[in-house]
């Protein structure tokens, strides 16, 4: 419980009774904080989990577990520094575990056609076709990347700094930098430069 220990036992009892009877209407500051983080990070974490090959329902379940674990982590007074990094780290590890359990080692990235279905309204069909082709090329390159390079790319796209990515993946800072550079070099070539 992340509650300040009251001076007497009757006060403690009243706090706990209140927490049990009206948890939804009277969330503790810690619950409110975790909910806020959930709202803020749910979509980025979901996106990342799907790039690891989890189905949307599996990814959604993992997200729930991650944020419940975050609540317990904070409730036990554990370090609060860089909580988004912590969330991605736990999500990554749990996703690998889930993937292993599902025996679906292969990463399933979205089809190029899926991305093409969400193109911005381009001025003309010709430009749309060019854009679609470019996205298909980039997706093919991303799919062919080594998993570590791909993870670095997706985590960076979700706003994580190199140090945070290194912690999530359990690799060195230099390895992250090299993976990103290698991945971007391939993407640049595929982009026609």
């Amino acid at each position: 419980m992340d509650l300040v220990q009251p001076a007497d036992s009757s006060a403690r009892l009243s706090v706990r009774t209140e927490a049990r009877s009206t948890p939804a209407s009277n969330p503790s500051p810690l619950e409110a904080e975790v909910k806020l983080l959930f709202d803020e990070l749910r979509v980025p974490v979901l996106r990342y989990l799907m790039t690891l090959g989890l189905s949307p329902p599996d990814a959604d379940e993992v997200v729930q577990d991650v944020f419940l674990a975050l609540f317990q982590h904070l409730r036990r007074g554990k370090p609060r520094s860089n909580l988004p990094g912590w969330v991605f780290r736990v999500a990554h590890n749990l996703a690998l575990k889930r993937r292993h359990a599902n025996r679906s080692g292969e990463t399933v990235l979205a089809d190029a056609g899926d991305a093409a279905g969400h193109l911005d309204a381009a001025p003309n069909p010709e430009e749309q076709a060019v854009q679609r082709q470019r996205q298909a090329r980039l997706l093919a390159v991303v799919r062919a990347l080594p998993e570590q390079d791909r993870c670095c790319l997706h985590l960076r796209a979700e706003g994580l700094r190199y140090r945070e990515i290194a912690k999530v993946l359990g690799v060195s800072l230099g390895a992250v930098s090299l993976s990103l550079q290698r991945a971007l070099a391939r993407l640049t070539r595929a982009d026609g430069y």
Binding site: V43, R75, A115, A157, S177, L187
Partner: protein, 284 residues
């Protein structure tokens, strides 16, 4: 970043350009790169290409998941309900008076004596080295007591608890790690499939002696490395709060960590929240 754009002695490398774009360079290096870019059209063009590629990738990254992300409403409501449930279950207020006291010290002494006997027999060669077949017969979620009886250094509770909150155990040298794997009949360990676990955790005084290390698989559900990490963390808390003496914590975890988990968490199976408990890094 084609062949004509590779790093030369006179230009900024692609990696440095990317690190500069990402704000990952030190202020000194950043100033140097900026000064170079101000003077060099070629490097500025490469920088622009990198930025363009990033923009294009981010668009693809975001669009491929569009329409697939499960709707927020249901997911949020479910999470709120689960969070409220978790919040309404107070953390167990572990007290020494609640722990089984009967014969605790005697049992612990017997455990320690058995561990010492096993260790001596192993070091004298009386006990055979396990072969891989035998290793497969034992419970993979628990260490082989002949190989890993557990080793601790004589630190006081005050010394251990003043170390502060450590997120992970000190790294084990690769050569030592491979010896541990070999002793357990694992010749080619798959990266990230194991945690090279300190049987007695460092925060409980465990040392990096090879007799305190064992390869703990992540696949031995439900008794996997996550559950063991949660137990270590919990025991450290109990010891530092004065609710459990250090010696008992060391003996219990060394003797049978699964039994210790059941005892201190008062559950037959690992708590669901511990499935994602993360303290130590996987071995790779």
């Amino acid at each position: 970043m084609g062949t004509d754009m590779r790093h030369t002695n006179f230009h900024v490398s692609d990696q440095q350009l990317l690190e500069a774009a990402d704000g990952e360079l030190s202020p000194r290096k950043m100033a140097k790169v900026r000064a170079h870019l101000a003077a060099c059209w070629s490097c500025r063009a490469r920088m622009r290409q990198i930025e363009t590629t990033i923009v294009n990738f981010v668009q693809v990254h975001q669009r491929t998941s569009e329409g697939k992300v499960p709707p927020e409403g249901g997911s949020r409501s479910l999470f709120q309900a689960r969070l409220a449930e978790a919040a309404s279950s107070p953390e167990p207020a572990w007290r020494l008076s609640l722990l089984p006291l009967i014969h605790k010290r005697e049992l612990a002494l017997v455990g320690l004596a058995l561990a010492l006997v096993a260790l001596t027999m192993f070091s004298l060669g009386i006990l055979p080295r396990p072969d891989p077949q035998r290793s497969q017969q034992r419970n993979p979620a628990a260490p082989d007591p002949r190989l890993t009886p557990g080793m601790a250094q004589p630190l006081s509770k005050a010394e251990l608890c003043s170390l502060g909150d450590q997120d992970s155990a000190p790294a084990v040298p690769r050569a030592v790690a491979l010896k541990v794997f070999a002793a357990y009949g694992v010749s080619d360990p798959r990266p990230r499939a194991y945690e090279l676990d300190y049987l007695i955790a460092p925060e409980l005084g465990g040392t990096n002696d090879i007799r305190n290390l064992w390869p703990q698989p992540y696949r031995t559900l439900p008794w996997d490395a996550h559950a063991k990490d949660a137990l270590e963390d919990h025991l450290h808390g109990l010891v530092c709060q004065g609710n459990l003496d250090l010696e008992t914590a060391q003996e219990d975890i060394a003797k049978d960590w699964i039994a210790a988990y059941r005892k201190y968490f008062r559950t037959e199976t690992p708590l669901p929240v511990h499935a994602v408990f993360l303290k130590d890094q996987p071995w790779e």
